[in-house]
Symmetry: C2
């Protein structure tokens, strides 16, 4: 745990929105453990002011360029912007995103903008909690907007995108029914659709396809996601997109949906932490790898193995709590 | 828990591969709870003989038709086949899969084939464990092959597909770089690539694209996934595909990889059960919804809320264990 004095210095740096303090705080939440928990405990009461926007869509849709342009429009009004880029684990797409990062260099020199790539975490499922905590860091540091960009592959990333106020789903003309269908889980959480690169052929057809899908949706929606065409590389449609985002934000507040959504986000975050903690506790109890090894060797069924690990985890948790209440 | 006599009758029915017993056993594992655990405990020692194959790919790739044809080829050799279809939650694709199901009707009347759609489970993440348990049911009932078909959207389905012996990734000509990239997490776990509908234009280009991606893969693979072209609707390439699957199975056995893979599957299963159990225990402790409500109202940070829920869950778990060791 950081010494009380260094935590105080960090919080002071955050309050002054000093880039080094913001960067260090995000590193702390990425590293996990007691420091993560202590920092979040301190900053959490100061969160809730920023508008947190998730931007998702397939690689090649131009998300990074769009985020860059959104940030410039918002900066042009004097508002501050924190950007979190969640890189996928895959080596296939890692390179492309790195390229995108480089294209955004112009923004790096602006003190009203903070850009950070979140490292993808391994088996323990820490990516979603760490990214949401990093958004809290930016929120507590006083950034007016937090933009979280993710490819939206895998449960971890879907969890990230579900724990924001407004979800932008970015697509591009000419993606057929197949790609729409594969992203079904993402389409359902869209608050605003963006058809980027809309100077390409087929943009209007893609608009019609999306409208058709929305009309077919059997679940009635209180908010009908608008469809905004953009050409991010030329800045076209980006002002209008900011307008669509703001209309969604206004609707969230006026309808009372914002509180419901933030409570649902809190639940997602708590569940993710619980899952992560039970694996960690099981590991420091019987040892995950050892118990799996033993179960495999003795052909013990997975429920029996989970039962033993859970009991071991419970003892670790209560042992810790007992020691804590003494100290 | 089913009365001892009804469990015995069920196990006897399974041993005789009676369809009603198989169906009832799968319903038990879908329903979850103590019955699921007890049944798996009984059948687990009799599993490990079946070849478990996962078939994944985007909607429209023709997976169901391919599964149908694979089953027919295997039946032609006198081997028995169990099929599990994991339907996605999405209403957009639900209809299409239902259509696929109807096309498979011919197989329904064959006693050497058992077909079952797995219902997608809600928030508690029970789909992957239930599907893997259902594969155990089919394995214990003596089916030579278990084919698990899934769209591969979301962590749940990826977990299902990761816990098999051989993973078939089905794609079709003309899907560009974008769709390949979005499925990056799936591509990495492919043991055999299938390019279905390969009578369409662009099949050879898709083969070259896949080969190129495999060559770019920075992680050296002990097994290089073969790429098989098929036209499932005409039965073309299906015999060859069975050959490719069998070569992979032989490699698994000869290289010692089968045991490693099955241990990794066991770990995935145990982790999924642990996550599911901690949420259930937290819920029967403090109550998940109530604790979230309280945390939201008092602006308690998510780590503090998770901590309280975890302590409550631990007490529930140890309370249960204590009662058990007495009885």
């Amino acid at each position: 745990m950081p010494a009380a004095r260094s935590l105080d210095a960090l919080l002071e740096g955050l309050a002054a929105r000093r880039p080094r303090a913001v960067g260090r705080a995000i590193s702390l939440v990425e590293d996990g453990g007691e420091d993560q928990r202590e920092l979040v405990r301190e900053i959490y009461p100061r969160t809730g002011r920023a508008r947190v926007i998730g931007i998702t869509g397939p690689p090649g849709a131009g998300k990074s360029t769009l985020v860059d342009r959104l940030a410039r429009v918002l900066r042009g009004r004097g508002e501050t912007v924190g950007i979190l880029a969640v890189d996928p684990t895959s080596p296939y797409t890692g390179g492309a995103l790195l390229g995108d990062r480089i294209r955004m260099q112009g923004l790096y020199t602006d003190p009203g903008v903070f850009i950070r790539s979140m490292a993808t975490r391994g088996a323990m499922g820490g990516l979603a909690p760490a990214t949401r905590d990093a958004a809290d860091v930016l929120d507590a540091a006083g950034f007016d907007w937090v933009l979280i960009e993710t490819v939206g592959v895998g449960q971890d990333e879907v969890d990230v995108v579900r724990s924001v106020d407004t979800v932008l789903v970015v697509t591009l003309p000419g993606l057929g029914d197949d790609i729409q269908a594969i992203k079904a889980g993402i389409l359902e959480i869209a608050d605003v659709f963006v058809i980027n690169k809309s100077d390409r052929e087929g943009a209007d057809r893609t608009v019609r396809d999306l409208q058709g899908m929305l009309e077919l949706d059997p679940h009635p929606r209180a908010w009908t996601p608008p469809i905004q065409k953009t050409v991010a590389s030329l800045g076209q449609g980006v002002e209008e997109l900011v307008g669509a985002i703001e209309r969604h934000q206004a609707w969230l507040r006026d309808s009372g949906e914002l509180a419901l959504r933030r409570r649902a986000c809190l639940r997602l975050r708590v569940e993710a932490i619980l899952k992560q903690r039970v694996l960690a506790a099981a590991d420091s109890g019987l040892g995950l790898e050892q118990e799996i090894e033993r179960a495999f060797a003795t052909k013990s069924d997975p429920y029996a193995a989970a039962e033993r690990l859970l009991a071991g985890a419970a003892e670790v948790v209560l042992g810790t709590s007992a020691r804590r209440s003494v100290s």
